[in-house]
């Protein structure tokens, strides 16, 4: 089922003419993209096409070589460290590997960003926030488990819960369904939609999973050879005449 788009005027993320290269490898070559409030956009492309680089630039983990990246009205390039941190608190980033702190249990993983950023919170408030985030991902019973004791899907969910605890306005998902079985993939897709509804987030979902893109996003953008070859709804892009996009769609199986 494809989600209806609810496009509003002011973009929460605006990218214009973005270029990024590593040594002689030109990864992004003039990217333009706008993400609007309460919208989910999927960025599809093959492995190594620069999808993850793009969202790492959005969150300031990498700096662009050229172009403008404006997030929630702030241009990433010129931000001071404190301004960048303030902006990052409004962005949730779900890593492909989940990136849970393996020396901490689930409770500590979730409480850590909260306590480090708001020292005045009482233990009760932190406990309540952790419980709420775990409830949002349906894993309240795993609160005292270590990351190594969790399955791949549970780790992804806890990774998402850790970002939700800071109540982000934008969610960036890096390959949320990679390495998971089809049933767990469907659960994660459902969770992405639930997060959007409950927290009213705008999301960019990096994926090469067409099912995930179709079920969670109102628009998709095909990133091939460092450029967006086509942007539009899932149906529009799937009817493309471009051979490279066609090839990508033909090799995917949609559930």
């Amino acid at each position: 089922m494809e989600k209806n788009s609810e496009v509003k005027a002011e973009p929460v993320i605006s990218i214009k003419g973005l270029h990024k290269s590593f040594d002689e490898l030109n990864v992004l070559q003039g990217i333009d993209l706008e993400l609007f409030k309460s919208e989910n956009v999927a960025i599809l492309g093959r492995s190594g096409s620069g999808k993850s680089v793009l969202i790492k630039i959005i969150v300031g983990l990498l700096m662009p070589d050229a172009g403008e990246v404006t997030v929630l009205g702030k241009q990433i390039n010129g931000l001071k460290p404190k301004e960048l941190d303030a902006l990052r608190l409004r962005i949730g980033f779900s890593f492909q590997s989940s990136a849970l702190y393996d020396s901490m249990d689930v409770y500590q993983n979730l409480a850590f960003p909260l306590t480090m950023n708001s020292k005045k919170l009482s233990k009760k408030e932190v406990d309540a926030a952790v419980e709420e985030a775990l409830e949002a991902v349906g894993l309240q019973d795993k609160i005292h488990e270590m990351p190594a004791e969790l399955s791949g899907g549970q780790r992804k969910r806890i990774g998402i819960a850790r970002t939700l605890i800071l109540k982000p306005e934008i969610m960036l998902y890096d390959e949320p369904t990679s390495g998971l079985d089809p049933i767990t993939c469907a659960e994660i897709n459902e969770l992405i939609n639930e997060v959007q509804e409950k927290y009213n987030t705008s999301s960019i979902i990096i994926t090469h999973d067409l099912t995930c893109a179709r079920n969670t996003c109102s628009r998709i953008a095909m990133l091939i050879d460092g450029q967006f070859l086509q942007t539009g709804t899932f149906e529009e892009v799937s009817k493309t005449t471009d051979e490279r996009i066609k090839g990508f769609f033909n090799y995917n199986f949609i559930h």
Binding site: K56, D85, A86, A99, Y101
Partner: protein, 264 residues
Amino acid sequence: MNEIGERKYLISKGIDQYFEGIFKFYAFILRFFGASLTPPFHFREIINQSYEIGIKSLSLISVTGFIIGVVFTKQSRPPLENFGATAWLPSLMGIAIVRALGPLLTALICAGKVGSSIGAELSSMKVTEQIEAMEVSAINPFKYLVVTRVIATTLTIPLLAFYCSFIGLVGSYLNVHSNETTSLIIFVKKAFSQISFLDLFSAVIKSFIYGFTIGIIGCFKGFNATQGTRGVGKAANQTVVLAMFLVFLEEIVIVQISNWVRDI
């Protein structure tokens, strides 16, 4: 490119990488001083790390320090017996353990145990994106992971060095007592008769320097790890090798400086 040209290119690339590595290391040290002097200060994490480094190294330091005290005393006795000078054993062991063996042995043990653990832990966090996860949560990973660990090693290793010296002297005393029936009071008096303030001062200073060296190298190698899981082993290994090498180098320099000061 012909074979000679390719070789020249590889050599010049190697030299570039070597100097780039040194530059990065100095930049890392400067960044540490900058970050350690500005808030926020993670005192609780410094205490946690000090506990990890200190308490968890005690058993190894105890066993090693005790054995070194006993063995050195046993090995030093025969030559002194030839001159009928076994009464000098406590003084000799005092000088050897307090001036050199205690701090150096502790530093070498910590380079192996603590340095490799810091290198492996941070590199593992790096390759599994945990450091980036901190950054995107608006937590400064350099302050939280590097500054706390380097301060912890710098403060804890001098304490461990003193503890190691103490245990070494206990081992030495037990051996001296069982052979020469020297009393504890006489042993202590003789052991410390040749130890000056300068000896204690240089032992403390060099322990701080060793602690800083081990911490900063472990963090530098771990924080800049690449190549996935292979990088984890590499970072741990390089930390041990480089930290031990620098500890020996620092030992030579500090001994030279303290001898020079003693002669003034």
